[in-house]
């Protein structure tokens, strides 16, 4: 039942000439709603707004429409409660694959569900009944997104973009501010034209061509960049190295820009929301770098040893890091982190960043935990898997050489990463990029991960020297559904690690989180100091977790649930340095209790593969969240029954007195 919106054809074309003081005419909207009545009313209102409307009553149809014609739509409006696919899942997929702004709508105005929309990356949430006024301004989301992408590109200071970009930027700025139908249309046209000019050297695209940066593609990209050296990596050479038919230099250039931003963010120059993930990663990288020596720990082994007490983990970690067996506590870094942390937590994170953050953090956390509990083999595995996941995070980490940033990242991201960082940062200098890189690669298996990473680094502003990548960058790991799921899975896994950071340290949690906490333990120690930060992380994590958790039907689910509950718990228990924590906690909680019938994450089916994937990547994971997730997953699956974990977490939650901090 798809009606190709026959916009008043003349309208769109005529708009360029006329000056409507209203809204940009011809904005291409895809509206997805299962309810016919609402769909008709919405279509009507959108037409009145002079938009080009395509309506569709099935999420699957909407997705295929979008996939067939990636650049055919400017914005998507979707209902939350749909039978064939959860609206949030659709939201995530669209964000990952097409990177379009998505507006959620529903008659459900519960805070939890609205928060879900935010954390899943919706750029707005409308409550039904919807009035035309609400729709008149949706164009702002399209413009804003483009502007952000631009800014990222600009910040990256890519040579390619140069003058062209600036030119376009100013033009774009004009357009966006004027809300002039004519100008909007013109700028849109220009973008379309630009897109067609692939060969041009100066890419600076107002509207970036939508190349799907799958995980594999991104990995190739990162590998090429690493090979060339991040400073020497120019699009042309990267393109050559990658040797991907159909990929243009322009694509690579814009991707590189984002990547550089991401790295920059990781290095502690957090500006955008993405900070969180990134900073974390870089920190972790440093930490992991030292831990990489512990590679080789087998996931399985780790899983088997999931019951490792915190102390031993800490010891292992310390040992692995070449430090004394003292609890890995880095007072200094912690302080740094805290500072960084405190003003780094943009609320934005909660949205997309959050997700990303969670994913990243999780992975990284796992890594941290791994060294302590896992044998070198496991670490190696993790590392390996992390690599496959996505180089983004890793890359970022590689660049983060500042211990301070590392710490910050750690606290921000997920306790896991932090702990390691702390441990390592104090003693070990930042890991050489080379080390970090591989790990990062893995970590960013999916676009989501990448995004998270970005988001995270944003948070940890100033954490790592790693270049920052804004969350908006969404490092275009257009992961496939699988990947997404993976990252999500990880997200949930991080839940466990996050716990550690939150300060649910072994003492408290060990008994409950033993299994997955194997690696968490160490982090707890470290994190206890960073509790404040953690709570922040938690919040994010919780949010992320909840999403993930609910999604996963497999064993991952148990992890997630546990993690979520733990997260929620933590969020509350830890000092609420961040107001965010509260929010997230709340979010996480509901998710948890609701039993998440809906699938936020598309990972459900991937649960299994993810586990395997993660298992391999455990070693790699050190810096990456992903490994953590996998570890956890594995651990959870193998070691703990869902009920056990759940009850453990729930218990903790109760004890913690969950509730917005």
């Amino acid at each position: 039942m798809l009606n190709l919106g026959y916009c008043k054809g003349s309208m769109s074309t005529a708009s360029s000439g006329g000056v409507s003081d209203q809204f940009p005419v011809g904005l291409r909207v895809l509206v997805v709603d299962d309810d016919p009545t609402c769909l008709v009313i919405l279509e009507k209102m959108l037409r009145i707004c002079l938009y080009e409307v395509t309506k569709c009553n099935r999420a699957e149809i909407a997705l295929s429409l979008l996939r067939e014609n990636r650049n055919g739509y400017d914005i998507v409006i979707s209902d939350v409660h749909m039978p064939d696919m959860d609206g949030f899942k659709l939201l995530e997929l669209i964000g990952l694959e097409m990177d379009l702004p998505v507006i959620m709508m529903s008659a459900d105005d519960g805070k939890n569900v609205v928060m879900k929309g935010v954390t899943h990356g919706a750029c707005d949430y409308l409550i039904k009944p919807i009035r035309i006024e609400a729709l008149k301004n949706i164009w702002q989301h399209v413009v804003r997104k483009k502007k952000n992408e631009w800014k990222d590109m600009e910040q990256s200071g890519s040579v390619e973009e140069g003058g062209d970009r600036q030119q376009k930027q100013s033009e774009d700025a004009d357009y966006s501010s004027s809300a002039n139908e004519g100008s909007w249309k013109n700028s849109k046209r220009r973008k379309d034209e630009e897109e067609e000019v692939d060969e041009r050297d100066d890419t600076s695209t107002l509207k970036k061509p939508r190349v799907v940066w799958s995980v594999e593609l991104h990995q190739q990209f990162v590998a090429a960049v690493n090979q060339l050296g991040i400073d020497k990596a120019v699009p042309k050479k990267i393109l050559e190295l990658m040797n991907v038919p159909g990929l243009t230099r322009e694509n690579v250039a814009s991707h590189l820009q984002k990547y550089r931003l991401y790295l920059r963010r990781l290095s502690g120059v957090s500006q955008h929301q993405s900070g969180m993930g990134n900073s974390f990663i870089s920190t972790q990288e440093a930490t992991y770098g030292s831990l990489s020596s512990l590679n080789g720990l087998d996931l399985q082994t780790l899983a088997a040893a999931s019951q490792i007490p915190a102390q031993s983990l800490a010891t292992l970690q310390a040992a692995g890091l070449g430090r004394s067996t003292a609890k890995p506590r880095m007072p200094m870094p912690i302080v740094d982190q805290r500072n960084l942390f405190s003003f780094e937590n943009p609320k934005l994170r909660f949205g997309e960043g959050q997700q990303q953050h969670l994913n990243n953090g999780k992975q990284i956390n796992l890594l941290h935990g791994i060294p302590t509990t896992m044998e070198p083999k496991q670490l190696a595995n993790m590392h390996h898997s992390a690599q496959s996941l996505g180089s983004m995070n890793m890359q970022l980490n590689a660049h983060g050489d500042q211990s301070g940033s590392l710490l910050m990242q750690m606290s921000q991201q997920q306790s896991r990463g932090q702990i390691l960082n702390e441990a390592t940062s104090s003693q070990v200098p930042r890991l050489p990029s080379s080390i970090g890189q591989p790990i990062v690669n893995n970590a960013l298996a999916s676009g989501v991960l990448a995004r998270n990473g970005l988001a995270e680094s944003g948070r940890g502003t100033g954490f790592n020297p790693v270049s920052q990548s804004s969350s908006t960058m969404n490092f275009p790991l257009n992961t496939t559904a699988e990947l997404t799921a993976t990252s999500f899975a990880l997200g949930s896994a991080p839940g466990v690690p996050s716990l550690t950071s939150k300060g649910m340290f072994p003492e408290e949690i060990s008994s409950e989180i033993k299994g997955p906490g194997g690696f968490i333990m160490p982090s707890y120690d470290i994190f206890s100091d960073l509790q404040h930060h953690r709570s922040h992380d938690w919040e994010l994590q919780n949010a992320g977790m909840t999403f993930n958790g609910s999604q996963q039907s497999n064993s991952l689910q148990s992890n997630v649930d546990v993690a979520s509950s733990v997260l929620a718990h933590q969020g509350f228990s830890s000092s609420q340095s961040n107001g965010q924590g509260r929010n997230i906690s709340a979010v996480g909680k509901p998710m948890f209790s609701a039993g998440d019938a809906t699938d936020h994450v598309n990972a459900q089916s991937l649960g299994q593969p993810l586990n395997n994937f993660f298992a391999e990547n455990l070693v790699r994971v050190k810096t990456e969240r992903v490994p953590d997730a996998s570890l956890q997953t594995t651990l959870f699956n193998e070691q703990f029954g869902q009920e056990d974990l759940m009850s453990a977490l729930l218990k903790q939650q109760q004890q913690a007195g969950i509730g917005p901090a």
Binding site: D35, P36, T37, C38, I41, K44, H81, S106, D108, P129
Partner: protein
Amino acid sequence: MASTALRQQLSIMRQSLFDEGILDHDQVSYLETLENEDDPDFIENIFTLFLRDSTKYIDSIEKALETTPIDYPVMDIMMYRLKGSSASLGASKINGETNTLIKNFHDGDMESGKASLQKLKAEHANFKEKLAVYVGMLKQAKLSEY
């Protein structure tokens, strides 16, 4: 003229629907402003759609309740759909009953939930009856206005 008399009748009926609280005056008036010459049957269409779909939603809710174990996810989706479409249309009583239903079930109060479902069904039946007449009159009035 027939059309005038018809329009008058229509207007009276419309007002009584508002007075009885079956339809929300503001929302319906708002929807009416959206109608234009490009789409003169807009109001008719949405009412017809709603009449059809709301019946389906309520049936689904009932069915979900009767299954063992109770299919809460489906129930939730249906309840929110009904809430959304009734709100968008201005079907106030149905919307109100749906809200009560949602609240009861979310509170875990099965007894009240089932009771409100019955109430919802009653309201819905009443709504259907009256709206069917109103839509019929709308169509007639249009026809007579060539």
